[in-house]
Amino acid sequence: MTGLRFSWRRANAVIGGALLAVILFAAAIAVVWTPFDPLGINLRARYAPPSWLRPFGADEFGRDVLSRAMAGALTSTSVALLTVAFAVICGTALGLVTGYLRGWTDRAIMMVNDALLAFPGILLALGLMAVIGPNRYGIVLALGIAYTPSVVRVVRGTVLSIREREYVEASRVLGNGEIYTMLRHVLPNAFAPLAVLATSMFGWVILSESALSFLGLGVPPPAPTWGNMLAAARPYLESAPWLGITPGLCIAATLLGINLLGDALRDKLDPRMAG
């Protein structure tokens, strides 16, 4: 009977992992090789429908959609990774500081933080993007800043709860300094919620990046990102549907992979939720 029981964690991990593996694999290959130059224009291949040569067709410049989707995977995932890294590093540092210092520093940082949280993430990124100007590092910065407040909040909350745990007290009784205790006992134990948050955030960033690109405020074209491809494909949705379907499917597959993997991770880190 044990074997027959459905295991969410295993199913989620397998399907999610497989989806992400495909995307990441494509992104990794795109570093060294794509079937065609993702920026290479070919006037004869404009609006070429899917064929053996170009399995996903070609776009309005005759650029190969598969190559662009692969290069887009690279751009999108690297932007997402950098953004998440940025948000996690800044957010953790700030969260630790506020959770640790409390007092007026905490209140000041949290006020700014709440002010930032009062914007929907995408709106904040939209505004920041307008200021920074659309480029690859701009979007990392904009989305990074937009998502930092939620990290700050999670880390601070975790720190506030962990610092009351008995093992933290035990460390203090041992005579360890506050900073040592923070880094040795509090931070590693804040890892679980942070990992879950970071995973979901990776998905959100992929989505936000493509939404921003879709609105024309993301990574500037002609650099291929899924959002750019989708935005460019809109006018030809009826006449050349393959242009819109490929990037849409890529985004959906990545998000599905991330969501499933996130569920598996949550189940693993928080066994109470396991089925």
Binding site: L43, F61, G133, G216, L217, P222, R234, Y236, L237
Partner: protein, 518 residues
């Protein structure tokens, strides 16, 4: 007081009732515009969408025809004095404003005084208050006649007066303004009246039944302008694919600026007609002559020779526009052999010139935007072609607002840019030539050329002007501050229920002389 209030109420009630009963049999045409209009004050706080709407409502003394020549509009006839300093306009008989008042010389004087008040910030204010076409005075001769006196003879005066972006100096009734002199709404003489402006959604115009039309055939903004459709609604659809979808599904009747990339698909669509006309705008690649690298004319020429203009234009406009390397629009009467000559596409020569200029593959940044698709597309093609010739161009796609800012400041290396239509060759040169020190937006800084341009503005003789423009053309080709690509085309797509709709060189929609089949 009471009685008048009561009467007003009755009038409003009747109007509403009338409106309601008429609604059942009313015909309505919906036209897409890609952004809200900026105001309803002709030539003040406007853009091309605003102009398109306004010219349905107001009319000036003169108007442009489709070949960019000027024809009388409200004026019946125009007399020019022998010294070329006095222009006398006689108004047509039976002209009426939307409120029923007759159009008199006083209205012309009143409107002109409004436009020439610096506070108004009329777009053409500086054209008439100083420089080549400075107006010294405007006088009433009789109730139907006015006379403009100029400081010096000008080849451009009538053209300026007809300028589309200045609202053709449209004649307004004084009730268009509130008691304190502020503008309220346009009460003009056009075939349509402003009915409703729902900001951000649509502008609705209603047919003006008392319209006194000219008898000539419709020609640009001139000629017969009689309306037959009861209501015209300009619907704001910022997104071009949405606008296209709206046209397909019958949510709008006219899409006045179809994207070339949609041309094939739209043409094939049942129930949709397409009309194409060449325009006088200008699409080109600006090269900053102050840039250390691009200050070398050989480098600029290298880029020009690296580009296959014909191939790009064909791909970008899908054959709707002709390639043109001259700043003078190809439809212009001044467009001759020197203008028609194409820059040779020669990658080898480009390589050689670049080498001579000491170019070692440094990246050159080219600014472009996604707002104007063909402009962006051209940039993408040029980047690819330049790469073939060993020239490393990097594209930087920025927002139109930012690009415009950089353009005004002259802050760029290369830029894929669009100029709006200039209807006279003098103006075509004037728009990009000038001293960079005082006007950083100017592209071509050549004092000799400057003198020639100013000269061309005062001479009325066509042949003499042609001579000047040919000279300017060769100077321009030598300096190559800008690689002109094409003038562009206006592609109008409209429902086949509309009879008589046409595209034209100004690109603006015209809903007069058009009928709607139910």
């Amino acid at each position: 007081m009471k009685a008048s209030n009561w009467a007003y109420g009755l009038a409003v009630g009747a109007a509403l009732l009338g409106g309601a009963t008429a609604a059942s049999a009313q015909s309505m045409a919906r036209v897409s515009i890609n952004a809200d209009i900026r105001s309803t004050y002709p030539g003040v706080n406007r853009d091309s969408n605003t102009d398109g709407v306004i010219h349905h409502i107001v009319e000036g003394l003169v108007a442009f025809k489709e070949d960019s020549s000027v024809a009388p509009m409200l004026a019946e006839k125009i007399e020019t004095s022998a010294d070329g300093l006095t222009y006398t306009f006689t108004l047509r008989e039976g002209l009426k404003f939307h409120n029923g008042a007759p159009v008199t010389a006083d209205d012309v004087l009143f409107s002109w005084s409004k436009y020439m008040n610096p506070e108004t910030k009329w777009r053409c204010h500086s054209d008439f208050s100083k420089g080549n076409s400075e107006v010294v005075s405007l006088d009433k001769v009789d109730d139907r006649t006015v006379a403009f006196k100029l400081k010096q003879p000008s080849a451009l005066f009538l053209g300026l007066l007809a300028r589309i972006d200045c609202g053709s100096a449209g004649i307004l009734h004084k009730d268009s303004f509130a008691a304190d002199g502020s503008f309220v709404k346009p009460i003009g003489t056009g075939p349509y009246m402003l009915a409703d402006w729902k900001k951000g959604e649509y502008v609705e115009l209603a047919k003006f039944d008392g319209y006194a039309s000219r008898t000539e055939k419709r020609d640009g903004y001139a000629g017969a302008r009689k309306a037959s459709i009861d209501t015209v609604r300009f619907v704001i659809i910022p997104d071009r694919s949405a606008a296209k979808a709206a046209l397909y599904s019958g949510s709008i009747e006219v899409l006045s600026d179809l994207d070339v990339n949609d041309l094939k698909e739209t043409k094939a669509r049942k129930g949709i007609k397409v009309d194409i006309a060449e325009t006088m705008g200008l699409s080109g690649i600006l090269m900053q002559t102050k840039d250390p690298l691009l200050s070398n004319v050989k480098m600029r020429l290298a880029i020009a020779h690296a580009v296959d203009t014909a191939a790009i234009v064909d791909a970008v406009t899908l054959g709707t526009a002709k390639p043109n390397n001259s700043p003078i629009p190809s439809v212009s009467a001044y467009y001759g052999k020197p203008q028609g000559e194409m820059i040779k596409y020669d990658p080898a020569l480009a390589r050689k010139l670049a080498a001579e200029a000491g170019y070692k593959g440094e990246p050159i940044k080219m600014i472009t935007n996604k707002r104007y698709q063909p402009s962006f597309d051209s940039a993408v093609f040029i980047q690819a072609m330049a790469k073939e010739a060993g020239i490393n161009i990097e594209l930087e796609v920025i927002e139109w607002a930012t690009q415009l800012d950089m353009y005004t400041k002259g802050d760029y290396q290369m830029m894929s840019f669009l100029y709006s239509a200039r209807l006279d060759p003098s103006l075509s040169f004037d728009m990009f030539a000038g001293p960079k020190a005082t006007q950083p937006r100017k592209v071509w800084d050549n004092p000799a050329a400057q003198t020639l341009i100013e000269q061309s503005m005062t001479i009325s003789d066509t042949e003499k002007r042609k001579e000047i423009f040919n000279k300017l053309e060769s100077m321009f080709r030598q300096d190559m501050p800008m690689l002109v690509l094409y003038n562009g085309a206006d592609i109008a797509a409209y429902s086949d229920k509309l009879e008589g709709y046409n595209a034209w060189m100004a690109g603006q929609p015209r809903l007069w002389g058009v009928t709607l089949k139910q």
